[in-house]
Symmetry: C2
Subunit: 364 residues, 2 copies
């Protein structure tokens, strides 16, 4: 079992970041109740579950392996790639509009008044507008009934100007999330979380209508940086329905040999150390250390974790699951946080919405 | 890459078994066109793809690690467990009949005149009768239209006395298998291969209506022999939709750390050697050698491969994917072939049919 201390890996400090809700200094994977949680990119329809960390100044008693003193890893620039993709999508949308007069439409259903959810929805709207996707929005009050949400979904399912439907999560606790998500027509489920899509993703010889946005963004980054997946040992850390599990299925489809490391895994470091490609999606600040990494491995860090930072005007900053400064010295390529996977998620959402419109209108 | 020779592992001979379709004596995983194939238990609705092997007398130049001279592994007796399960099912069916007057019904659709398919269907019928399941059968000629098959499925979907529907594969080549299988109502898909079932199997917090019979049988064997899965390293060899992939998902649901080894995997032996639990489902006679096994590992051998045997009255005998005599000396427990996973598949089919009838009639 791994003992872990959440060390700040910045070169300017040896500060240790401790989760507020966590009393002990050391934990095993098994004892971490939040290991299952995934802090998603801020643009996702699945909100991050923010964990604030206290900064405790003391040196880590744990870690770390011999490393080069200089960072050698190539930075996988998700911000840049996402911008490129958004431009490509914009061109395609213009071409479709000119050819058949159709503009893709994305509908978002927001229930309640969570500030973070409102921010995600606003970001999606802006991104849609920037590429020429028509953005529709329904905001329902916190005390809405399940039936009212279902009615909105039905309306969008039937609306031919809508090609993608997102229900912003989390829903109020009195609602059955599974029932509501399953009501989204499979051909408009641009989030790709419908079990039918996941099933098709898992099966050889079948194709999902949509691939979930964040894992799709991870694989797209590997492709755009020319990183070979076929035949490589890949480890996915975390097995959530929205990132870890579909990411593993995608890597498997691309002929990697995939292992999922999770909260019940014995000796996770040992398994991670053998990987050529690592996708980490657990929502644990700086959990993956430099000593866990095989030299030359490629790291995709999905975690976006807020940690307290008195020097930041907001009082916090965002870090990944991966101890960047340590790992960048060992890996051959790595995504930064922020600016790695985060911007890719919304780009993939736009891409899925465009694909949906193309499929529905039979436009190539 | 693994170089492999398909050695006969019987203690009475050093014979080497060469696949008829295979010209070279040595192969890498990558060059094996049939690595994807799975020879399923004879009772399955998915027929085995029989590969006949020529017996070439020469000693293996390859293998083998230091092993004890005596077999130490416990034999996981699938025949015995399957018998127990069939008895339990029989008791439950009698109880349901007495309580609510309902008898579970399984419908099988057979298209064409393949002898092996006819045998599988006959075996299922016999097994149904033995436990009290009502067995229905439709045999359609080879030159039937897709629509005729779909009509039969619709009839059974609507028939309240039918709780499970199986379409015996392979279908004639002029038919779209995916379209036909998808027509089976999800609530009667006792094979569990519908993508919606597979998706639910993959997702945390979701439950499939049915778990595919062969992988379900593998896990049931582990359970009945008290073999712990949680926290163990498990390797599934083969990634077929009907065994390997769902077996991996099942192990994952039980908190194993799972790796799927497949035809594109580099150094498969090295990965297999680290496993506490191995499920092999590739359809390669005697492929997994004793030297590939960690001492004390548990082996579930799904392969049922016919190899030529002049001493057998039938001219062939059945062997697993695993070189039994070698592996039994290293493993702590192992399924034999035949008599391991094979009998479990049909027991799980009966179990799924019973569960379906219970669910449809809301009987606990």
């Amino acid at each position: 079992m791994a003992s872990m201390i959440f060390s700040d890996c910045s070169s300017s400090t040896t500060a240790r970041l401790l989760p507020l809700r966590c009393q002990k200094l050391r934990h095993s994977f098994n004892s971490l109740p939040f290991f299952h949680r995934v802090s998603l990119p801020l643009t996702s329809s699945r909100p991050s579950l923010p964990t604030l960390y206290l900064q405790a100044h003391s040196s880590s008693t744990f870690v770390s392996a011999k490393m080069a003193t200089e960072s050698t890893a190539k930075v996988i620039d998700g911000k840049h790639v996402a911008k490129q993709i958004r431009e490509e999508i914009g061109v395609e949308i213009a071409r479709m509009k000119e050819a058949i007069g159709i503009v893709p439409g994305l509908a978002v259903i927001l229930v309640g008044d969570r500030k973070d959810s409102a921010t995600y929805v606003r970001n999606k709207k802006k991104a849609c507008e920037a590429v020429g996707i028509n953005s529709l929005e329904v905001c329902l009050p916190e005390n809405s009934t399940e039936q009212e949400v279902l009615n909105s979904i039905t309306k969008f399912n039937e609306d031919p100007s809508v090609h993608g439907i997102l229900v912003q999560l989390p829903l109020p606790s009195h609602m059955n999330e599974e029932k509501i998500l399953n009501a989204v027509g499979i051909e408009k489920d641009v989030d790709g979380f419908h079990p039918l899509n996941i099933g098709r993703l898992a099966m050889r010889g079948r194709d999902p209508l949509f691939v979930p946005c964040t894992p799709k963004g991870c694989i797209e980054l590997l492709h755009r940086y020319g990183i070979q997946i076929k035949g490589k040992k890949a480890v996915v850390i975390g097995r959530s329905n929205i990132v870890g599990m579909p990411a593993a299925l995608l890597l498997q489809r691309e002929d990697a040999t995939v292992t999922i490391v999770h909260s019940r895994t014995n000796n996770p470091e040992g398994i991670i150390k053998e990987a050529d490609i690592i996708i980490s999606a657990v929502g644990q600040a700086n959990m993956v250390r430099g000593s866990w990494i095989k030299p030359g491995a490629v790291i995709i860090d999905v975690g976006i974790n807020p940690v307290e930072d008195s020097e930041s005007p907001r009082g916090y900053r965002l870090v990944g699951d991966v101890c960047y400064e340590e790992v960048a010295k060992v890996a051959s390529a790595i995504t930064p946080v922020p600016g790695g996977v985060g911007p890719m998620t919304i780009a993939m959402l736009l891409s899925n919405t465009l694909s949906s419109a193309k499929r529905i209108h039979n436009f190539d």
